[in-house]
Symmetry: C2
Subunit: 89 residues, 2 copies
């Protein structure tokens, strides 16, 4: 099934705490997600889920990604990649 | 010493092949770097250098980051974070 950005938006509520409501991180050291490459976001989320990323704040993302299905990951990537990279300013 | 975005720009010539001259990746699966959070870029580059990231295309970045000093990393992060997130369109 094709990725569903609207479903991703619903799933992204918890992500917003660190990555910002508009995908622009409000906390130093956390990446902006708005307008990021969709395939890269899928790859990164899977790497966190598979515990292939350590260092930095990766433990936070390992925990968050554990509960995401492949469909959730595809939807979240579709959502964040659809947001304007400048945060909509 | 403070990070030097101009030195980062000079060092970034090789990065542009995948991440784009303006920090917007031209290859699916590679992340945009333009306007990304500076501290996150430092953290990510150090994680690649320390081989703390695997999966996806991480082997490419492990190789690239191996030769970067902490100063290079700081300068590259300063440079890419200074670029407009929308690629300057």
């Amino acid at each position: 099934t094709a990725a569903d950005a609207e479903a991703g938006k619903a799933k992204a509520a918890v992500c917003a705490a660190c990555h910002g409501k508009n995908g622009i991180a409000q906390i130093p050291g956390y990446p902006n997600l708005a307008g990021q490459n969709e395939q890269y976001l899928v790859s990164a989320l899977k790497a966190y889920k598979n515990k292939q990323r350590s260092g930095g704040q990766s433990a936070v993302m390992q925990g968050q990604a554990t509960g995401l299905s492949d469909e959730d990951i595809a939807n979240l990537a579709a959502y964040y990649s659809s947001l304007p990279a400048d945060g909509g300013k």
